[in-house]
């Protein structure tokens, strides 16, 4: 049998998904099920004066209308689960339905339950809410000014936390030969998973059990949080996510909606389904990014970076979402030096509340905001010195012999060969030729540019001790159970919760490799708290890194027990038993052995097991990682800018990534592609915009530019392999690299193209009108 590790094995999950047999939350249909529709605030900031539900309740088919005051005494606040240390964090009380004040457009004020979804929607329109609108604030830096309206009376200046790391660098900057300063607007993005959020709740009054099917990346975290909010003990609360149609961070959070649905199901004694519309997804599902960053870089005249100093205003929206405070602090601030050996660094982050949709993790979560900043600054520094940006990178990249490398914030980068990925990328682009072409085209009035991003990121979240130290209110280990059935077939139960990343296949590959059995004989179960004891879910590129390592440990336990059984059956000493390709043998005695499947059967029959051994063949392991993992790479974008229209065309895109060992190259490539399009989408197309009243003016796919197929050339990808030394599988994680690396590569390329016009920076997204305006503000071409 061929070893499938490292092979492009076709995905198990596709057998159902290409047939339309996937089961997403909105596909669930239960007997007696009724439908919820939320009534949401049209104002960004207002007092609720009155809610009149009479007309809605009078509509035939309407069963109930619940408002904030109905839930107030029995349903707890929606919590945040990340409290960064030493940041004087203030909580934002977040009722499941607002009962006094609404704080963003989309804040829930009532829910209508009806026999069918159309009636629920009709009735929601009949709920009369009287508001007294108030002034709103949307920009995170402006929100901290003293004359601005407060989002929460408890939070002065709208600063929910102030987090700083690093020493005072005034002297370093004062003494430095070169200082480059730049402000960046890391714009707000809408994650836009293609499946809108949904929840179905069913309460069984006989067993007092609540089951909630929902669109989550982490069912066990949902269970933990909802248990507290609803007062249902965890052993009577089951959270299930069968198929989830993408998340990208937006399905980590516990939202008010699933809580309200569960409340209604219990109150009515009927199963209740709620599915958000895309319009609701735009306003009521968490957004990503949204920083104003003031950045300073100090360096020598010959190209050595000496220090980086950042002050960032991070927009958190109206309430602190589940993981929100960790994103602009730990996941952003601690990796600001990127892949560079920068001796000194400091960061100062203001977590600011505004009258906007809550902001939480979005693919990369903090690391794209950091990577953009440092990669752009390296280019601006190179430009200041009139040096080649590649040369400046080569001078400052952490050399491969320096690993493990402790960065200025104390993170220990596990392994790397940053020069290696840059070298490979340069081979793929023929850099000198590009510069020659660029020069000759400029003479013809044509502007092409090249941009680099030599990134590193931290993922595989993460060691639980570190999680605790940085204020994450949970562990970050992962669990795996390997159940070998009497026939030798295997079911794997993982506490991670993949939703498109393909671990039903990659996890089967790991087991197939280790137990020597066909992947078809291995089933991977995820996303159900009733079947999986505990786990922390899928985000932060952690599923294969942490969940895969747990699976490896559980499989090793299986092999250890099975070896003992085989030794007993074969009447030899355990040390003489060999195990290869699913077959137990005896060293030096060819032909004497037994299959793994027959050992499994013996384990279950238990007619003759070694003295004291328990029957059956099942093992559970909990893997607590020793460190984060640090994937890295070199990305190169080549663009052509039309100076007459401002249009940017992406000509070529080269991604050389090192994500450690690769289990399934087909899936890895797919993860990189998907990340690239999201990252390039941020550079060129996407941006959520609010007006001064807090109305989202990019609130549909008509207004928010989602990347389409025709925007992109074929991507050119390659890899180097530097295994993570502390991960049992040597993997590093790949889910976010594309989104982290690509944004600055593309913007650097556009700035390179526009360099002859003296343009230093354009705020993202680089839409044709912004580029055209920038060109014309510089006097045109």
């Amino acid at each position: 049998m061929m070893d499938v590790l490292g092979q492009p094995v076709k995905r198990h999950e596709d057998d159902r998904l290409v047939r339309g047999k996937g089961q997403y939350t909105d596909d669930i249909r239960l007997p007696g099920m009724v439908y919820a529709h939320m009534v949401r605030s049209p104002h960004a900031h207002a007092k609720i004066k009155a809610i009149d539900t009479r007309a809605a309740l009078a509509l035939p088919g309407v069963l109930a209308v619940y408002v904030g005051s109905d839930l107030k005494d029995t349903v707890g606040m929606i919590p945040t689960a990340w409290i960064p240390p030493n940041a004087e964090m203030k909580m934002t009380p977040h009722p499941a339905l607002a009962y006094d004040t609404v704080r963003y457009v989309g804040d829930g004020v009532a829910v209508v339950i009806a026999e069918d979804p159309y009636t629920a929607s009709d009735a929601a329109d009949l709920v009369q809410v009287t508001y007294a609108p108030l002034e709103a604030v949307v920009n995170p830096r402006e929100a901290t000014e003293s004359d601005k309206p407060l989002v929460h009376q408890e939070i002065p200046d709208n600063v929910a936390f102030h987090w700083s790391v690093g020493a005072d660098l005034d002297d370093v900057f004062a003494a430095s030969e070169v200082v480059v300063r730049q402000e960046f607007r890391q714009q707000r993005l809408v994650p836009s998973a293609m499946e809108p959020r949904a929840a179905v709740a069913q309460y069984n009054p006989a067993t007092e059990e609540m089951t909630v099917w929902t669109t989550t990346q982490n069912p066990h975290i949902h269970r933990l949080l909802m248990s507290g909010i609803l007062g249902i003990p965890e052993h009577r609360l089951r959270v299930v996510a069968i198929d989830v149609g993408g998340g990208f961070g937006s399905k980590i959070a516990c939202y008010p909606d699933e809580v309200v649905v569960a409340y209604a199901a219990r109150a009515l004694g009927r199963p209740v389904k709620w599915t958000e519309t895309r319009q609701e997804n735009f306003i009521a599902t968490s957004h990503g990014r949204d920083h104003v960053q003031e950045v300073e870089l100090a360096g020598t005249r010959d190209g050595r970076i000496e220090a980086i100093r950042v002050k960032a205003f991070s927009n958190l929206g109206a309430y602190l979402s589940t993981a929100a405070p960790g994103v602009p602090t730990i996941l952003f601030g601690l990796i600001l030096n990127g892949a560079y050996k920068i001796p000194q660094a400091s960061v100062d982050v203001y977590g600011v509340v505004t009258h906007t949709t809550p902001v939480d993790a979005y693919r990369g979560a903090g690391r794209p905001e950091a990577t953009y900043l440092i990669e752009r600054m390296v280019d601006l520094y190179a430009r200041e010195l009139k040096m080649d940006p590649v040369e400046v990178r080569k001078m400052n990249l952490i050399p491969h012999e320096s690993f493990p490398y402790t960065n200025p914030f104390g993170l220990e980068y596990d392994s790397g060969n940053y020069e290696g990925t840059l070298r490979r990328a340069l081979e793929m682009v023929d850099y000198p030729q590009f510069r020659r072409d660029q020069e000759s085209l400029r003479k013809q009035g044509k502007y092409i540019g090249i941009g680099f991003s030599t990134y590193v990121e931290m993922c595989g979240l993460g060691p639980s001790e570190v999680a605790g130290a940085v204020g994450f209110q949970g562990g970050l280990w992962e669990s795996a159970t390997v159940r070998v059935h009497p026939t030798g077939k295997v079911t794997v139960f993982t506490g991670a919760s993949p939703h498109g990343q393909g671990e039903e296949t990659t996890f089967a590959q790991i087991v197939s490799h280790e137990l020597g059995m066909p992947v078809e004989d291995i089933e991977v179960v995820h996303g159900d708290t009733a079947r999986i004891a505990m786990g922390w879910g899928t985000y932060g590129s952690r599923t294969t890194v942490v969940g895969g390592a747990a699976l490896h440990m559980a499989t090793q336990k299986i092999i250890a027990k099975a070896t003992k059984i085989a030794a007993h059956k074969l009447e030899v000493s355990e040390v003489d038993v060999t195990f290869e390709a699913g077959q137990f043998g005896v060293a030096g005695v060819p032909g004497h052995g037994m299959s793994f499947a027959s050992v499994a059967l013996d384990a279950y029959l238990a007619w003759s097991l070694p003295e004291g051994m328990e029957p059956a063949l099942e093992a559970t392991a909990f893997y607590n990682p020793k460190n984060f993992t640090y994937p890295f790479g070199a990305h190169v974008a080549m663009v052509s800018v039309d100076p007459h229209t401002g249009d940017v065309e992406l000509m070529r895109y080269i991604a050389v990534d090192d994500v450690g060992n690769i289990i399934n190259p087909m899936i890895v490539e797919g993860q990189i592609h998907g990340g690239l399009v999201q990252g390039i989408g941020q550079a060129l197309y996407e941006g959520a915009e609010f007006d001064d009243q807090g109305q989202l003016i990019t609130g549909s796919f008509l207004d928010y530019a989602m990347p389409k197929a025709r925007f992109f050339p074929q991507f050119e990808t390659d890899h180097t392999v530097t295994p993570s030394p502390h991960n049992p599988l040597g993997v590093k994680g790949v889910g976010e690299t594309g989104a982290i690396a690509s944004t600055p590569a593309v913007v650097n390329a556009v700035m390179d193209a526009l360099a002859p016009m003296g343009i230093r920076d354009i705020a993202m997204p680089l839409t044709p009108i912004k580029v055209w305006n920038a060109i014309h503000q510089q006097g045109g071409i």
Partner: protein, 168 residues
């Protein structure tokens, strides 16, 4: 407010179906809620994402923009109707070339691609990319979707009945 109802009859995946429904019911909700054909998905409310694309009398149509009653007497094919004993070449190709990740947009994308190959049996890459303008995918970055459609074009060309040789 009592809603008027009417009977609608159409052919779905080769079978005649009749239901008494409100005339305002969208085809996609008719398929999902009345017929439990949940392979067709709703991804937006402005007809941008294409997750709901089905074939109506062989033409790719976004089923969120069509009332069920407008399909009276017509023939609708959904993702569940593609498979005839074995996977349709488009399904086979998407599996082979990793044309999907979360799978949510996939049924609509495949339906769109079937129409695309009808118009361009041997499409160029740019014809495929342009032809995907009516669909959104957030997972794949589209490249493996393009490869899947190219692969499907090859599979479908192989399946085309060869012209019969003339018997002299």
């Amino acid at each position: 407010m009592e809603h008027h109802r009417m009977e609608v009859t159409m052919t779905v995946n080769g079978r005649s179906v009749s239901r008494d429904i409100e005339p305002r019911v969208l085809l996609v909700h008719f398929l999902r809620d009345e017929l439990q054909l949940t392979g067709t998905h709703v991804g937006c409310d402005t007809s941008q994402c294409g997750s709901c694309t089905v074939l109506i009398d062989g033409e790719a149509v976004k089923s969120c923009t069509v009332l069920a009653v407008q399909c009276m007497g017509q023939s609708v094919t959904t993702i569940e109707g593609l498979e005839q004993g074995s996977l349709h070449p488009m399904q086979e190709a998407f599996r082979e070339k990793h044309g999907l990740q979360c799978g949510f947009c996939t049924p609509g994308v495949m339906m769109t691609a079937i129409q695309l190959l009808k118009q361009h049996p041997n499409p160029t890459e740019s014809e495929i990319r342009e032809g995907l303008d009516g669909v959104l995918c957030r997972c794949t970055g589209y490249e493996t979707i393009v490869r899947s459609i190219q692969h499907a074009a090859g599979l479908m060309a192989d399946q085309e009945p060869q012209p019969e040789e003339e018997v002299g």
